[in-house]
Each structure stands twice: as C-alpha cells, then as structure tokens.
Amino acid sequence: MPILEGKELRIVGFLCNWCSYGGADTAGVGRFKQPTDLRVIKVPCSGRIDPLFIVKTLLAGADGVLVSGCHPRDCHYTEGNFYARRRLEMLKRFLPIMGIDAKRFEYTWVSASEGQRWQEVVTKFTEQIHELGAAPKIVGAEAEETLKLMEAAL
C-alpha cells in the first residue's frame, strides 16, 4: 500500500515541532492545497535530525527527503538549526558520491506562521522529485521476507 502506484512517490519529511510542523498545520488551517506524497516525521528540533536518518530513509527506498526547521536565529532551542544547517549541508554535498541525486534531498526553514510558504515548499519539492522519478531501489529477494520476520518479532 504505502504509496499510490503511478500516482505518488515516496517522500518523507522531517519537521521540527516548533516552527515547521506548526507551519504545516497553518497551511492546513488555511486549506492550502498540497500534493499527497509527503509523509511527515515530527522531531523536536532540526538539531535532532541526524543526517544518517536521511541516508537511512533514502537507502530504504524513499524517493525524496525534505527537512524543515526554524529559520536561523529562531530556533526554540537557540542553536539546534545552526548545527543542523552544517550537518545537512554536508549531507547534501555528500549524496552525489553515493550515486544519489542531491536534488532528492532538500533542507529549508519554515516558521509556524508561514503556511503559504509551506505549501510552496511542499509543492515545489514534490514536483522536483516527480521530475527525477522513482529512485533506484536496492531490492533483494530476502527484503520482504526479512520485513515479515522483523514484524513478527515485535
């Protein structure tokens, strides 16, 4: 089920609780229409986002990953997005050596009041991923099997 075949691509968003998640809510309250591909994972702060989560997500088959935090200087925790900016910038520059198009990953800043901006970011990023198409998948015969085992173990 996860995505609608032929219609959607797998796009994952990591959003900070204080600004961007609120911005996405504001967009909802404003009924700002957006593509349906994005699935949001809420984290307290963009500083919580280990770039390796994004690598993990991309290697696990996501077609795009979007990260959004508070604008620089607006971080609820004062410094989280400053650390995030450095770490995520490095990731963006690193992806090409893995053979992953850097355009599959973007990071940006959206405040809790910027519903309109959130709509623009989501729309533009989704379009960008659709232009790139589905990412190459690492398939293995055992993949689905393992997944079942993992789920059974829970």
Binding site: D25, V29, G80
Partner: protein
C-alpha cells in the same frame, strides 16, 4: 503491546475527504494493532469515553488517535489515557486533518496517506516507553531585567504580589527612556511627575532589590530555578556610603564628560548623577574623563566627599542571584539616523533627534526648558519635524513602523507652540498613525488648535543657507516640491532593539526577530510569554510600544509570574535525554554541543561518562544526533522511535 486505533471523523472535517472506516480497517493489519475503529469526534466527551471503554475492554496498552494536529489535542488525549490508567506517553497521534484532509480533496490518496500516517504512529508507539514527570520546587523570586517603565511596572506588581524581586538596570538610574521625556501624549502631563513616584516606590519597596549599573553576565538553570550571574559595573563610588549629596559633582573640575542622559546635547562632569530624581541617587565616575584615573592628578571628589565613598580602584563585581522566573524589559534604542545622507548624516548641528528635543524641552534638561538651537543658542522660530526616520524604510533595513513617533511628533509641535508662541512647526509625514484612546483627537488638535503645518511627503535633502537650513521635500497631496527655511530640524527617529538585546536573548535562550526584538510565545495568545519556560517579556523589547502599552505588558508579565508561582512544585517534562552509561565512552561531544549546559561529565568507577541534568535538559536532542554511538537518547524521540517511523513508510 496491544494498540488501539481511533480514527476521527471530526464531523466532516476529516470524513469529508478521508474514508475513516477504511483507514480503521487498514489499521487492523498493522503490527501491534488489536483494535481499530472510526469515531465521530474523538475529542468530545463520548469520544473520550469510547477510548477509555476500548482500553478496558480490549486491554489496550497503547493508543493511536488519528485526528487533528497534536499541537491541538495531544494534551487532551494524554489526559484521557491517564483516566484509563495508562501512562500518558503510550500515546501517538496521526495528524490526518491539518496534514491530510484539509490540504487536498483526493479521497483515495487521502485515505491511503492517512493509513500510512497511522502505520507510522503505531510503529513508533511500539517503541514508546512510559515516562514520568518529576516534581521540583520553585524559587518564588523573579528577576526583572531593565528598569524602564515596563520593568518598573512588572517589578512593582510582582513585589506587591508578595514576590521577592531583583531588578537589574544597566544605567546608574532606573527610569529608562521615559525619564528623559518632558511631557507625554495625549494628556501632555509631565513625564517625571508620572514616573517619579513609581521610581520612588521601587527604591522603597521591601521586596525589591535593585542592582543599578549592572548587567546580566550569565544565565544558568531553568524555570523555577535560574541561577543568574550579574555584573555590577565599577562606578568608582562606594554606593553603600554615597548619599547622593552631589558635592562631588559640584566640585569636579572635569567638565567635558559625555552626557548620555541629555542625549549628548551638553557635557557633564566626570563624576555625576544623571538627574535630580535619579533612583538610586548615586554618583558614578566616568573613567575616560576622570583626571585622577587618567593621570593620577586631582582627586577633588575624594577630598570633598563627606562619606568617603570615592574609590578610584573599584573593579567590576560579580554576584549571583537565584530566581524562579525572569522578565525581560530591556526596551529600545534609537536607530542610528546618520546613515541618511539626505538629512546631513550628522554634520549639521541644528538637525537633532526627537529625544534630544525632549531634553531641550525639559525643565531639568541642559537648557532648563528653553528651546535653543545647538549651533548658536538662538531660539528657533521655524521648526521642521521629519517623521519615519528609520521606520517604514526598507532601504535602511527598518521596514516596520515604530508606532509612537506620529504621536510624540504631534506632542512636540504642541509643546513648541507653548514654549515659543510665535513659532511655526512643519511636519513631513508619510501617514499619521494614531489608533488609541484620544490619540487621533490629539493629532487633530496639533493641526487645528496649534496650527502645525502637516505636509504629506518625504524630505529629499537638507542643505545649509546662511545660519539656517533649507528642507526640501515633496508635498504629495499638492503634487509639488516644497522648500522650507528651518531654524531647527527634529527627526522622529524610529526605535530599534536596545543595544545588547540579542546578547541577552542568547543568554536567556529566547528567540528574537530580524531586528533584535524578542519573540513572544504566540503572536496573539502568548504575547508576554516566550518559548522558554519561565522567561517573560514586558515593554518595547518585544517590539516598539508607547507608555500605556509598555505598562500594560509589564503588568501582564507580572501576572504570568504570579500565576506560575501560585504552585509550590512544578512538573518537569520527562521528554529529556538519558545516557546509557554502558554505551557512553566519555568523549564529551554531547557536552560540547548541548546549548543548555545540561550534560556534565561524571566519574563512574574511574571512567569518564556523560550525565544529563534532567531538570536543565530542554529536550532538543542535539546530543542524540551528535553522539556517534547512540549512547545518549532523547526520550520519546529516540533513534529507534524515529527509525521505526522510517521503516514503517520506507518498505524497500
């Protein structure tokens, strides 16, 4: 874990574009889910009762509610779980309203996405653990930073409410900008007559401890228990001994010291007391101008001081204050208008700021209330006021309106007429902004009764002609260029965040906007709170404000502090980082990156380890993403919880 899923219709808000029954049906297939249903209004009383019944009937030990944003009803449903006897953190929300049903009408895609979000929530929930708050005691005292009218009001309200108050002021006297004003709008009553009694109250209040000529050096701790290091700057006068008699000021031979209180309109003595009503009324030496400190000559002040208070060797002193809350009331400063070349960029002495004009108008000012232009001391007849200098001007990076300039300019035209009956005021303005009780009537009076000549348009240049200045500008209503001979030009300089405001914001861990004004918690619902618990805002530090608004906010901040302190114990948020001592190798990277100093190094059986101070940790998780071996994990947002969400949606 046995998970129950409740998919909310939210009336038609969700059901209109999401097939909630289908989402519930799909949810039953997700790992851990033993019960799923759709429900009309999950947050309503019958909705919550339904959740409680299901928990009991199906022996659920975890709940997912798919409804609105967790920012709305997460606290509601957590309480529901607690009523059913479950820990409040064995709960997850899938936001299928703001993030799904409200942003698109494709029912198939919405239903599918909703199911996906439930799958993620359930996957994370499987990794959730019960978390428990700790109670900690509150230090029921408050620090107010800034002794302007907002800070004074906040301090007095708190002190009258029975709290111990520490008031910190960076200048040698409290009073702030208001103390410099001659009269106030729209009543044209004397500023110091209004403010003076409040300042005296501060000085005499048994609950207020005033540190003047002091600044915040360092802030540690958290709501309920802040530990704040205050720097008491060297005044070279022992204030415990100084009686404020002023003999030293009288006898001091060094007359060239910069007079900041009088906005540099005049000079003052190297040792001085800024104004007669100063609180505290204590002398301070300006070391740059003191001959004893500079050249080891003179020392007259020490000889004449009857209480032997002069101490030329005094050093900055640091003291620590423990308080439970902080009110920031650091006010504003004036924009540096000299960037405007068209106004002379500071090279014409007879172009002055509105605050300088206030000092000129004030009976206790350097000219004792006589309007004298700086160049030759003559009384001006034609006075031109220019508004929006450093306000509403993108070209100088100040696009916002300073709010009060229209009103004080109107006031100054009235006072000009009062002081010099045969004078004429001309005001160049963009728009007149006068919302507020009796405000618009007041500007009308300036024009109609006092004959101020209002010209709608900007000034393009000021140039000298003989002893006078010519102000050239546009009159956009007439569609003509105008030139006015001016004896004196007064600039309505806009407000900006006070010098050092951003440094203080960083120390207090509060946000500030692009202009250095502090950010409130919510623009409408939390106007005096910040996003840092226990830190409140009062006055123009949050944005330009006039006196009534500043006073109102001072009182509002005080009421928030009193409300906070109405409890003896506060509950800590258990969503904090925890170190797995087995995995920690003591490399200290988390200590290095923690913005709050919440992680300390401890010695564990001879090994270095990190340890989180639970009450200081704010739960940002920077440490967790810094630690290479994953030894420090932010509770409720652990690596495994986030990875579970990733794995739930990225299924190879």
């Amino acid at each position: 874990m046995k998970i129950g899923v409740f998919v909310c219709h939210c009336g038609t808000n969700i059901e209109g574009t999401v097939d909630t029954a289908a989402v519930a049906a799909a949810s039953r297939e997700f790992p851990g889910v033993v019960f799923a249903t759709d429900t009309m209004y999950a947050c309503s009383e019958p909705g919550q009762d339904g959740i409680i019944e299901a928990i009991k009937e199906h022996k659920l030990d975890g709940v997912v509610v798919a409804s609105c944003t967790p920012r709305m009803h997460e606290p509601t449903f957590r309480r529901t779980l607690e009523r059913a006897g479950l820990n409040r953190y064995l709960f997850e929300m899938a936001n299928i309203r703001e993030h799904v049903s409200w942003i698109g009408k494709d029912r198939e895609a919405n239903t599918n996405k909703s199911a996906d979000l439930v799958r993620m929530a359930a996957a994370k929930l499987l990794k959730n653990r019960p978390l428990f708050s700790k109670q900690f005691p509150v230090n029921k005292s408050v620090m107010v930073v800034g002794g302007g009218v907002a800070g004074i009001q906040a301090a007095l309200d708190c002190a009258n409410g029975g709290l111990k108050v520490v008031l910190v002021e960076k200048d040698t006297t409290i009073g702030g900008k208001m103390a410099k004003l001659d009269k106030t709008f729209p009543t044209v009553d004397c500023s110091s007559c209004v403010l003076g009694p409040l300042m005296v109250d501060v000085a005499q209040h048994p609950n207020i401890n005033l540190h003047a000529y002091s600044e915040i050096e360092e802030v540690n701790g958290y709501v309920g228990n802040f530990e704040i290091k205050v720097k008491k700057k060297a005044s070279y006068v022992d204030w415990d001994a100084c009686t404020g008699c002023g003999l030293c000021v009288e006898k001091c031979p060094s007359r060239k010291a910069t007079d900041f209180f009088n906005e540099k309109l005049a000079t003052t003595k190297a040792i001085n007391i800024p104004f007669p009503q100063a609180i505290p009324k204590k002398a301070k030496i300006d070391p740059d101008f003191c001959m004893k400190i500079q050249k080891d000559k003179c020392g007259v002040c020490a000889k004449v001081c009857p209480s032997e208070a002069i101490d030329f060797t005094q050093k900055d002193e640091f003291i620590t204050e423990n308080v439970g809350a902080v009110v920031a009331a650091t006010g504003f400063d004036l924009f540096d208008w000299t960037v405007y070349g068209q106004y002379g960029g500071g090279k014409y002495p007879d172009v002055i700021t509105s605050l300088q004009y206030e000092r000129m108008l004030s009976a206790s000012g350097p000219s004792e209330g006589h309007i004298k232009r700086p160049s030759d001391g003559k009384e001006p007849k034609n006075v031109v006021f220019i508004q929006c200098v450093g306000s509403r001007d993108k070209s100088v990076g100040r696009p916002y309106c300073s709010g009060f300039c229209c009103m004080y300019t109107a006031k100054q035209t009235i006072l000009t007429k009062d002081h010099i009956p045969d004078s004429q005021s001309h005001v160049f303005y963009m728009d007149i902004r006068s919302p507020g009780k009796l405000y618009d009537e007041f500007t009308r009076r300036a024009m109609e009764e006092y004959g101020a000549n209002y010209i709608r348009g900007r000034v393009s240049m000021i140039y000298p002609k003989g002893d006078n200045l010519v102000v050239r500008g546009a009159d956009t209503l007439m569609g003509a260029q105008v030139e006015i001979d001016a004896d004196l030009v007064v600039l309505a300089v806009g407000a900006e965040a006070s010098v050092g405001a951003t440094d203080l914001a960083k120390k207090l861990r509060i946000s500030y906007d692009a202009y250095g004004f502090f950010m409130e918690g919510h623009p409408k619902l939390k106007p005096v709170e910040t996003n840092t618990a226990g830190v409140y805002l009062a006055g123009a530090c949050q944005g330009p404000k006039d006196i009534p608004a500043s006073v109102a906010q001072g009182s509002a901040a005080a009421s928030k502090v009193l409300g906070l302190f109405s409890q003896d114990m506060l509950a800590s948020d258990p969503q904090v980082s925890v170190v797995d001592i087995k995995r920690c190798i003591g490399c200290g990277k988390c200590i290095q990156t923690c913005p709050f100093g919440a992680i300390k190094e401890i010695d564990f059986r001879g090994m270095k380890k990190a340890d989180v101070i639970e009450t200081i940790c704010q739960g940002c998780g920077i440490c967790t993403s810094t630690c290479p071996q994953g030894a420090v994990q932010l509770q409720h947002f652990t690596d495994n919880q986030i990875l579970a969400e990733v794995n739930a949606i990225c299924r190879f």
